[in-house]
Symmetry: C2
Subunit: 228 residues, 2 copies
DNA sequence: CGTAAAATTTAACTGCTGTTAAATCAAAGT
DNA sequence: ACTTTGATTTAACAGCAGTTAAATTTTACG
């Protein structure tokens, strides 16, 4: 009996396509269609270029496109996107754990490699890492069927002052921010106490092993914790 | 002082170009120009396609093209090719030593990745592997200046019957052959005794730890040894 | 409600890497 | 030296992913 991949039927999908699907997946997590300009911005192309490409992706039944309204992934498009996301996050973990890259460095490397590796490479990383469920930033790694583990992460900013918990995810790919937050001890696994959230968009004060940290809202809203 | 790469000026060279330069490098190792049809065959494209591409590479001063005669690399082309070869062979070593892939599997993975990694990744592998000088098949890994280590490898078939030595290189990327030769204990590092070379293209008989092995000329000529 | 601004699409074109088919060149044999 | 064969190049074109500029649609505001 031949070994069958969940993604056996996903051949003939090239780099550019994979990056589009990846971006659309992330932009549609909230359930709303992704608009052309957003997609174009994330990919670093012009809106007109993205518009043309989206039409082609729609022709290939990878996205469901409503002109002037935006794009959603079809179930096929979603499966492919989830494969890329799985590979990206496994790569990030591999780059961090096995190769010793810092958590603010792994995204760029992973992005360059995610469309070049094959299933054997993906599986080998998964084994070496003992089937991890999160990337170094705490994002969940879907399994080969595209299913995510169930977790108890909540946005830090939804919590009341005085809440204790453990950082589970820092939701950004901005290397500078990651570097800074890492230096403050704010990485997945860190125990935190939410001291205060100043009103009117004011700073958020936390306490970690390293001591007190004060963050602007833009950084604080990236942090997800599991309350104690 | 900014860290300067030997290859800083090699930007803007894409995948297809790198693969052409790589192939031309290998075909011109004997000093002779590589002909269009050969190049096309190695790359899996038509000779006309290769011809067009070669002209473009010549326009970019990466190859020195004599129409109807063949292609040589310019010194710039050679530098770029050597960078790719270094990355390919470091990747092969990494895939074998760190990730546990078999020596007949590493070439394909390395080929897929060699144009996607950057200098930091290259350097990290080099460190992790403690600056290896050979890939798993025994090919030499050029340093960042494109210089190869000096070694004493000689083709097995240039040696007289009775010669003892150590296998240093198996010069093929054919996975099936590598798998077979590996099963016979014929990998770099293996001690061998050349028993006999039958005349008129007959079989070559060797002795290894595993016992006696008889090889056809096509396989035997791939093997390079360092005489004891 | 109508119009200005913003978002989106379409049109025409570019660059890259390939294709097939036809033309051309080179090498070798008689 | 001529001719045949094989290698190589050229011509015309295709597919993909992008561009700029113009046209169009949507949205939002007064």
């Amino acid at each position: 009996m031949a070994k069958t991949s969940t993604f056996t039927d996903l051949v003939g999908v090239n780099d550019a396509t994979l990056h589009y699907l990846d971006v659309i997946y992330r932009l549609t997590l909230d359930g709303n269609a992704a608009n052309t300009t957003e997609i174009a911005a994330k990919l670093g192309v012009t809106p007109s270029g993205a518009s043309v490409m989206l039409k082609r992706l729609a022709d290939r039944k990878l996205v469901q496109l409503t002109p002037y309204k935006g794009a959603l992934l079809t179930s096929l498009g979603k499966r492919i996107a989830l494969r890329t996301i799985r590979r990206h996050r496994l790569l990030e973990m591999f780059l961090g754990q096995v190769m010793g890259f810092a958590w603010h460095e792994v995204d760029l490397h992973a992005h360059a490699l995610e469309t070049s590796i094959n299933e054997a490479f993906e599986d080998r990383m998964d084994e070496m890492l003992d089937h991890p469920t999160r990337c170094p930033h705490g994002h969940l790694i879907p399994n080969k069927n595209g299913e995510f583990p169930v977790v108890n992460d909540v946005p830090l900013l939804t919590q009341a002052a005085g809440t204790r918990g453990t950082v589970r995810c820092v939701d950004t790919d901005n290397g500078d921010w990651l570097k800074y937050l890492g230096e403050q001890g704010l990485m997945p696994g860190a125990a935190v106490l939410l001291r205060s959230i100043a009103p009117y968009g004011g700073p958020v004060t936390l306490e970690t092993k390293h001591g007190a940290v004060s963050l602007g809202r833009n950084l604080a809203e990236l942090i997800y914790i599991e309350p104690a």
